[in-house]
């Protein structure tokens, strides 16, 4: 019962936390670029404004895909705080991402089509790595359950340092940060307009933003698993990781999808194999 309550509270609070992280993200990015930057609450203003805009749908299919994306993102956060199975969360997360791409593919716009293809490639890039991270967590703790990780007692980071780097790659892709923001880039980069987001507008775009906040909370939760044994260790790890993501975002330009595939799979698989061999030998 306690778990259910915790998970429900987490689902309610996750968009607030995700939005604040997004606001802090923009503020820190501005600081790194010697600017003042928008207020911390700016992402909330954006989302409420988008909710109030008149809907402009290309087809009714878009409503369904956006809802599935949002609900699956909420469900991953719910399952995570229930201490449920990591593989189940992975599948639910994938369903959301696939529907998000399907919404973009259902339109005629060439920008949305290009963005959708790139989003599919990015999914193809990060998903094997996330699976490997989960498998390595299971190898250490003996279970795929999040609750088992919390009762494990020692920080996973000691045994899985290389897997943490691999998760960092997946995190950068999932947060849509440079150099991997090839499918839906932010702000002034306008090469594919906004890629996979091009044909979503108004309330649908707001819901996608909220779903993205849930994704951020979930992925940061995965990062937190690597130091689940102490609250402060977990907090410091999250802060350092997110700040590192921001710095990487600001010092790198966007690359091509082929470069992304080669680099992330190359490094990701090599680091995973090394870490797994080390675990196996030790």
């Amino acid at each position: 019962m306690g778990k259910l309550l915790l998970a429900t509270i987490a689902v309610i609070l996750a968009p607030v936390v995700g939005g604040l992280i997004a606001g802090l993200d923009r503020k820190l990015t501005a600081w790194l670029q010697s600017r003042v930057g928008p207020p911390i609450l700016q992402p909330f203003y954006d989302v409420f404004k988008l909710l109030g805009k008149s809907p402009m749908l290309i087809n009714p299919w878009q409503i369904l895909t956006v809802w599935v994306y949002l609900v699956s993102s909420m469900l991953t956060v719910f399952l995570f705080f229930m201490g449920s199975d990591l593989l189940l969360m992975f599948f639910v997360l994938t369903i959301g991402a696939v529907f998000f791409v399907m919404g973009a593919l259902s339109t005629q716009s060439p920008y949305a089509q290009v963005g959708a293809q790139r989003e599919l490639v990015t999914m193809l890039t990060y998903e094997p790595l996330i699976i490997l991270v989960f498998v390595s967590i299971a190898m250490v703790t003996g279970s795929f359950k999040v609750s088992e990780v919390f009762t494990y007692g020692k920080p996973l980071l000691y045994q899985l340092p290389l897997m943490f780097v691999v998760l960092g790659y997946a995190l950068t892709i999932k947060l849509r940060k440079s150099p991997f923001d090839i499918s839906a880039c932010h702000h002034a980069h306008q090469e594919v307009v906004r890629g996979v987001l091009t044909e979503y507008s108004g309330p649908q775009l707001a819901m996608i933003e909220i779903a993205h906040w849930y994704d951020v909370v979930f992925v940061l939760g995965l990062v937190g698993l690597f130091w689940a044994s102490s609250f402060w260790g977990c907090a410091v790890l999250l802060a350092v990781t997110y700040f590192a993501e921001l710095v990487i975002d600001n010092v790198t330009a966007r690359m091509t999808y082929k470069w992304m595939l080669k680099t992330v799979w190359g490094w990701g698989l090599a680091l995973s194999v090394l870490n797994l061999l080390w675990l196996y030998a030790g």
């Binding site: 501005a30 930057g37 203003y45 909710l51 402009m56 002034a188 906004r194």
Partner: protein, 147 residues
């Protein structure tokens, strides 16, 4: 309460799509200057985006002619309401020095309704930011009138 938040959002997050109807690039680089750390319009929540479907404000520079007026109208129609239009520079306001040319329609307001005019050839970045603030003032007045 949700309505209050939405209205607050409308005033605090004007996303701009910038359309160049054949300007000399003078106005356009002034628009881009607004994004630099010196002026940093993002602190007001203003983002220059490329997609009319996400935009709230259409910023038009350059002379409208018989060929690009259809494109201008198309972009305007693709923006979900509520939306505002800002015409910029002498060319955007009236056609400027090209207003007598046979292919020039005149100002932006001959094709789509314009809310705010920003004068200058080219206008300073301060004037552009001021134009957006005026457009927001009009939005605010409209919201208050609607209750």
């Amino acid at each position: 309460m949700l309505k209050d938040w939405i209205n607050k959002g409308r005033l605090k997050s004007p996303w701009i799509v910038h359309f160049d109807c054949g300007s000399c690039n003078g106005c356009d680089i002034e628009v881009l200057a607004c994004l630099t750390p010196l002026y940093d319009v993002e602190r007001f929540g203003i983002i220059n985006i490329g997609d009319p479907k996400h935009a709230d404000v259409l910023l038009v520079t350059g002379t409208v002619n018989h060929r690009n007026k259809h494109v201008l109208k198309n972009i305007y129609d693709q923006m979900p309401s509520p939306k505002a239009v800002i015409a910029m520079g002498a060319c955007g306001l009236t056609g400027g020095v090209f207003r007598e040319a046979y292919n020039v329609v005149g100002g932006v307001d001959k094709v789509i309704p314009v809310d705010v005019y920003v004068r200058g050839c080219p206008p300073k970045p301060e004037a552009i930011i001021d134009g957006v603030v005026h457009a927001l003032g009009k939005v605010k007045a409209a919201l208050e009138a609607a209750g």
